[in-house]
């Protein structure tokens, strides 16, 4: 049964392959590689290269006729966009759901429809359904990133602070640390990325996907909204506890300071853990995570968690079956992947293995998670980049009205385009 289904699902591709045969023979593309199918895997996670290499070795051992060619370049997402523009699309690549880039690619038939693949059923539907676009799924979620507050355990113990669960406890902790002469918070605000990793925590807690739909239709405003104002006020309240010259510190410097224990807390996503571990060998003992406490109701607080590795296959790929086989293999080996990558898995039944990341597990297990709010915005990556720059301005001038006006104008400009 399974085999016949497999063959059946391949038929259209066999036909396609037959059409392309002449061209291929002319260009002599298969010449160098014998009978092996070479599948390009374009991935944008430089810290994941070793993990994928290990898994690719295992996969190639099981499938001697397939060669997976992992390709990682700096600024990968931009390179991927240009490769779409020029029609040179990799066979497998990382795609995030909901985002405009994903929708644009799916609606232009660049992505292979995976809805009916068996491996989709192994994935947590809460997460995987984010890939739904007109009822079909063009990507498979493998792992999730998570965003919370990293803290230095010795500093917290020294001042008798427990990990805060409410907003009041959170601000009290900052106050205590500040009064004791500690640096309560490290921020690397010279890089725009840091601004949104912090700010979006409030935005994600305040607004749900329905809000963004109304928002994108122009039914909600930023300037008239109490929630946006409240979020901005909370941002300013926290930012005063950051180290001196936080606007002049970039991410690398901030990472270094925090790993050295120069500050008590740091807002950063789980992707930073491998870097910090490289800077401090006792990292796992000295540091922990707690979920960002946006409000005074612990049940209402959310952890931002988006798809970190989600895989799509090019519709025009010459080796779609081989590519899908690799996606299926990665999902089957999600245990291994989660352990090596130190991330939450989107595959059901796979638990987090990372000692630091465990601090965020209660939220993730309770489904107190929210997607990155910017994934719902019109304008996608561009709107996010603008949001970050406006946030950077806001941190300098601390002018809430100006900030909300700027954001309103920005969102409006992206609405007009569509």
């Amino acid at each position: 049964m399974k085999k016949s289904m497999y063959l059946l699902s391949c038929t259209p591709f066999l036909l396609l392959a037959a059409c392309g045969e002449n061209e291929e023979a002319a260009s002599g593309e298969n010449g160098g590689n014998g009978d092996k199918a070479v599948v390009e895997f374009f991935q944008v996670k430089p810290e994941g290269v070793d993990t994928f290499d290990t898994l690719i070795d295992q996969f190639e051992e099981e499938h001697p006729d397939i060669e997976i060619d992992q390709n990682t370049v700096p600024d990968g997402m931009t390179v991927l966009t240009t490769r779409f523009s020029t029609g040179d699309i990799p066979d497998i690549f990382i795609t995030y759901p909901v985002e405009e880039d994903y929708i644009l690619r799916a609606s232009n038939d660049y992505l292979l429809d995976m809805t009916d693949e068996e491996f989709i059923e192994q994935l947590n539907p809460e997460i995987q359904d984010r890939y739904l676009e007109d009822g079909r799924m063009y990507g498979a979620a493998l792992s999730l990133n998570a965003n919370g507050v990293l803290y230095h355990k010795p500093t917290f113990e020294e001042h008798g602070i427990d990990t805060p669960e409410t907003w009041d406890e959170f601000t009290a902790a900052f106050e205590t640390l500040d009064a004791a002469g500690e640096t309560p918070l490290i921020m690397g605000n010279q890089n725009v990325d840091q601004t949104s990793i912090f700010n979006l925590n409030f935005i994600a807690q305040q607004f749900d996907p329905d809000y963004w739909e109304r928002f994108n239709n122009g039914e909600e405003t930023v300037t008239e909204s109490g929630e946006w104002r409240e979020a901005s006020e909370k941002m300013l309240e926290i930012i005063q506890y950051a180290q001196n010259d936080h606007m002049g510190t970039d991410t690398d410097q901030a990472n270094q300071m925090f790993a050295n224990g120069d500050g008590a807390m740091y807002f950063m996503g789980a992707w930073v853990l491998p870097t910090l571990r490289g800077m401090n060998e006792n990292f796992d003992e000295e540091f922990g995570y707690f979920p960002f406490p946006q409000t005074n109701e612990p049940e209402e607080n959310v952890t931002i968690s988006g798809v970190d590795v989600g895989l799509s296959v090019a519709a025009d790929s010459e080796h779609p079956e081989e590519a899908l086989a690799f996606v299926e293999f990665l999902i089957d080996e999600a245990d291994q992947f989660a352990e090596m990558d130190g991330s939450f898995s989107a595959v059901e039944g796979v638990d987090v293995q990372d000692p630091v990341l465990e601090g965020l597990a209660p939220h993730v297990e309770n489904n107190q998670v929210a997607n990155w709010p910017n994934h719902y915005w019109e304008g996608g990556t561009a709107a996010e980049a603008d949001f970050r720059s406006h946030s950077q301005n806001f941190f300098i001038h601390e002018d809430i009205d100006q900030y909300l006006n700027d954001l309103e104008a920005m969102f409006e400009s992206y609405r007009k385009e569509n």
């Binding site: 931009t78 966009t81 240009t82 779409f84 523009s85 405009e100 880039d101 644009l104 690619r105 232009n108 038939d109 660049y110 605000n189 010279q190 890089n191 725009v192 001196n244 010259d245 606007m247 002049g248 510190t249 970039d250 410097q253 304008g379 996608g380 990556t381 561009a382 980049a385 720059s389 406006h390 950077q392 301005n393 300098i396 385009e417």
Partner: protein
């Protein structure tokens, strides 16, 4: 008889010209024309189809505050860094053509920034602005410089200018040195006999005679700085906020980040026209100042 020889010679020239013309057409004329067409479409860089929209993109750019902000930043940056780097380079060149001790050593030192890779320069200067400048500012009690200049909206501009002038001067020094060495010794001698020395000797003799060098240096520097991209990527990434977003960085962001390929191309072509106009004005002004001995 003569006429037909001339004709066949001309034919020969034309045939020799052809490969060059073909290459020019293929790699220069065709891309420019296709960019001109792209700038009149709404292509997003990904879709398989696009619509022709005429001059809409150009009109949109002229009312886009982000473009105007980038344009005004780029112009200020280009003018200030062109003027400063030429003054600095000329001053250094004046010293380095004199018979001073360790002349060759200093020539090598001042050329050094030109051969460093832009990324390395970016990293070095980031460290300098983060660690070194605040360190001295604290000891000298200069409040404004005690934090990273790159994180300050007003000072980031000047931080960029410092790095640009430091690197861009290196090449200009070489051109100015070459120019200064073409000024014949006997002109100076007769000027000395007439009683000219110091500033007068420089402004009346040296300067007019090296105007060709100045023309080259100013045009080269201006063109390079109007298209500034690498310094900004390496140092500020356009921030803080939008304070140091240049037109080229905007073009990149529009095309590859915002999925507005058509609009980005329109902005790029506007910059292209802009640079041509500025270059023509510069050449016209400086040509009139040139003198022949």
């Amino acid at each position: 008889m003569q006429n037909s020889a001339y004709k066949s010679l001309r034919k020969g020239y034309l045939i020799l010209l052809l490969p060059g013309l073909l290459l020019l057409a293929l790699f220069y004329v065709y891309p420019v024309l296709s960019a001109l067409y792209m700038s009149m479409t709404n292509w997003d860089g990904v879709s398989r189809s696009h619509d022709f929209v005429g001059l809409v993109n150009y009109g949109a750019a002229l009312t886009d505050p982000r473009f105007l902000n980038a344009l005004s930043f780029t112009l200020q940056y280009a003018f200030v860094s062109t003027i400063l780097s030429n003054i600095v380079a000329l001053s250094i060149a004046l010293v380095l053509v004199k018979k001073i001790k360790f002349r060759n050593f200093f020539r090598a030192v001042f050329f050094f920034p030109a051969v460093l890779s832009m990324l390395i320069i970016g990293y070095i200067w980031q460290q300098i602005f983060y660690h070194v400048v605040p360190y001295f500012a604290e000891r000298l009690n200069i409040e404004a410089l005690q934090t990273n200049m790159l994180g300050n909206q007003d000072l980031a501009f000047w931080a960029l200018i410092i790095v640009t002038v430091w690197q861009a001067s290196a090449i200009l020094v070489v051109i100015y040195m070459a120019g200064l060495q073409t000024v014949p010794e006997d002109v100076y001698e007769s000027a000395a006999i007439d009683g000219a020395s110091g500033w007068k000797r420089f402004s009346r003799i040296t300067l007019p005679l090296i105007v060709p060098s100045i023309t080259i240096c100013v045009i080269l520097a201006m063109k390079q700085h109007l298209m500034v991209y690498d310094y900004i990527i390496a140092l500020t990434d356009g921030g803080p906020g939008f304070a140091t977003e240049s037109v080229t960085l905007l073009i990149y962001n529009l095309g590859f980040l915002n999925n507005q390929f058509g609009y980005g191309t329109a902005v790029a072509l506007m910059l292209f026209v802009f640079i041509i106009v500025i270059s023509i004005i510069q050449i016209n002004i400086l040509r009139k100042k040139e003198v022949q001995l």
